[in-house]
Assembly symmetry: C2
Homo-oligomer: 143 residues x 2
DNA sequence: CTTAGATACTTGCAACTGAAACATTTGCGC
DNA sequence: GCGCAAATGTTTCAGTTGCAAGTATCTAAG
């Protein structure tokens, strides 16, 4: 056997991803925001309004789940749903001032968190890692 | 702002992980095994019996969830629960012959899958990627 | 030997999720 | 323009999850 499961890419990726997610979730818990919610806020903050479908694929969350999530975020005053007149099927999600402020605060935490993880890791190695991760995502999409 | 969310490590990691997981799940769906179940089978197959707690941390699944999962896997005849006489608190999970055969089959698929993803990627780069992922998991555990 | 506390797992319950059904709007072919 | 298929979200419902409480076993102190 030349295959060792715990050395496989999906295993290592999942392991690191779950660990990162759990730890970061704990760090932002006091803001009453879940990790997927933070992702939505960060993306809206940095790239402007998005439709549900776009958001769904950007944050890797099922549209039905996301629809409900946006509902609670709207109730919390972090985002608003807007039906653009030019296309009544779409729902454009926009971040509010309150949501933007929250996003800024959380992204500060995220920055520190990432520094803590990458830590003394070689900056070039970190960039290489990210490039490989992007390649993997791309490659799977067209698999 | 020197921070770009969609270039952050947790984001890229999650994105790649979800994509990998979804695609692989679809590939093994016809065996009536979920991805976490496959992980359990693969680990038991390659490293022998494990307690629930050990399995839980190895596959990054909550113990309560895992306990129920092992229940359905036991019903399906893939694993057995054993109370070792020397320690009655622990439950030792062992893979059955049927489970082992299934694991072997699924790991073949996983091998092909991984080859498909890494594809033409430089073998050294892939190894580097894995090393970094291991480092990240370790680093978070002691964060 | 008894009992308090720790460990390891299981189960009950409320909350959440995903797939499928539904609703609405748009665009296309005629 | 009219009817129908496709696109986009929302809602429903059955199944799943995670936390907290419960159970069983072990360890150790007195």
């Amino acid at each position: 056997m030349d295959y060792w499961f715990t050395d496989s890419l999906p295993y290592l990726l999942n392991r690191a991803g779950v660990a990162l997610g759990e730890t970061f979730s704990r760090r932002i818990a006091r803001y009453e925001v879940t990790l997927p919610m933070y992702r939505v806020l960060a993306i809206l903050r940095q790239t402007g309004p998005k439709s549900l479908g776009e958001l769904s694929s950007l944050v890797s969350v099922e549209m039905s789940t996301l629809s409900r999530m946006i509902g609670t975020m709207a109730k919390a005053g972090q985002v608003t749903r807007i039906r653009p007149p030019e296309n009544g099927r779409v729902v454009s999600i926009e971040i509010t001032a309150k949501g933007a402020a929250l996003a800024d605060e959380l992204m500060q935490i995220a920055m520190q968190f990432e520094r803590g993880i990458l830590g003394d890791m070689d900056a070039a190695a970190a960039e290489e890692l990210k490039t490989l991760l992007r390649q993997i995502s791309q490659r799977i999409d067209k698999l």
